[in-house]
Amino acid sequence: MQTKRLLSVLLLAVTFVAGTGTALAADAKAESPKAVQAQQEIDKADKARKMAASVDSEWTTTGKLIKKAQAALKQGDYDTAIRLAKQAGEQGVIAYEQGASQKELRIPSYLKY
């Protein structure tokens, strides 16, 4: 029940973010293709971050990188924005893998039963 509600909230959140993303991207397009790319990388990173969170595996570092990337984009420092967003996206992917691959309990061998 609760999971369902959570899922729908998440879905809503994703739609919302994707929506603003496109709107922002449209604004940015008028400026430069690099700005568009930066926004796309940020959107990708945020999706990856949310994927990691969906398996309780988000890192504290990822959201911070995304915020920094957004700030860089705002200031017109597109290269920095792209670099940071890519880093965040990579983290999101690894963090998701980390969570998803441990769905099954594994007891470390140093604990003797």
Binding site: E90, G99, Q102, E104, R106, I107, S109, K112
Partner: protein, 296 residues
């Protein structure tokens, strides 16, 4: 290399090197590491395995001492702690909590109406609630009581819930931890298993599980702190922490331990942390409650 050194090293590395480390760590962990596929074990077997692991490491430390956390195994830390316990920093919280306990709600009812055996009821939590189908912890029960009486729920990590918990913990001193996993509801065992899985799941950029620090590396130092054993982790909450400059709850500590490995903390009193508390408290079955406590 100690855990502290590992953390220190990772912290001090430049960003581009860190990225490489990260990818390596990812690869390492995808390769599986040194783990055994889970065999089905009973909670009693889990508790025995943890306890014998620590007994083997700290041969001359009696298990009852585990309730004192790192101070069971850290001589210098213990001296400071014993000095602090002479004028316990949590005392004002107990007094404030008693006042809260005795003050009626707007509807004239009191906490006593919700906790007829209270205030010393900490030994009854966490417990499986068949009707609600979930683990009920003491902080959650307190908020359910408040809400049933038209009062606002309190925050779970710090603030006014802490003195109330401190008073109830103080009144519960000496009760023996006795978490029960009822057999008439398979969901209770599922909750325990979920908590156990959480405990052994590697998280965060540092890719540590609770067990990495509190089982594998117990006794080693992280910066200035000696890593404690998980048996005894739940007996003494809430805790006045010098680092916090105030007292906080067990779930605040969970958040801190998650953040330290750069894993985003989950919601205090959310399902994951409650199940974790259920598992973790089971490990302390047989140990006397000694809250509230003081820690570095």
């Amino acid at each position: 290399m100690s855990v502290g050194q590992v953390i220190e090293r990772i912290c001090s590395e430049k960003r581009h090197i860190m990225k490489k480390t990260l990818i390596k760590m990812g690869a390492l962990f995808l390769a599986g590491g040194v783990t055994l596929a889970a065999q089905a074990t009973t909670p009693e077997e889990d508790r025995a395995a943890f306890t014998s692991h620590y007994k083997f490491r700290f041969t001359d430390v009696p298990v009852e001492e585990y309730a004192n956390g790192a101070y069971a195994i850290d001589k210098i830390g213990r001296e400071n702690w014993e000095a602090i316990e002479e004028f316990p920093p949590y005392e004002p919280f107990i007094d404030e909590g008693q006042e809260m306990w005795e003050t009626p709600f707007a509807n004239g009812k009191t906490y006593k109406d919700c906790f007829p055996d209270g205030p010393g009821v900490k030994g009854q939590y966490p417990r499986w609630d068949k009707k609600q189908g979930m683990v009920i912890t003491l902080p959650l029960a307190i908020n359910q009581c408040r809400e049933a009486n038209g009062e606002k729920a309190l925050k779970y990590k710090k603030g006014p819930i802490v003195p109330l918990l401190a008073y109830m913990a103080f009144e519960s001193r000496g009760q023996i931890t006795n978490v029960v996993i009822p057999e008439d509801d398979p969901r209770a065992m599922e909750a325990y298993e979920a908590g156990k899985r959480f405990y052994f799941t590697r998280r965060g950029q540092l890719n540590f599980s609770c067990a990495t620090c509190h089982v594998q590396n117990t006794g080693l130092k992280v910066r200035t702190e000696v890593l404690s054993m998980s048996v005894g982790h739940t007996t003494h909450w809430p805790v006045y922490r010098s680092k916090w400059g105030t007292a906080g709850t067990l779930h605040r500590r969970f958040s801190g331990c998650n953040n330290n490995i750069r894993a985003k903390a989950l919601q205090a009193q959310g399902e994951q942390y409650r199940n974790l508390e259920y598992f973790l408290t089971y490990l302390s079955n047989g140990l006397a409650l000694n809250g509230p406590g003081a820690r570095k």
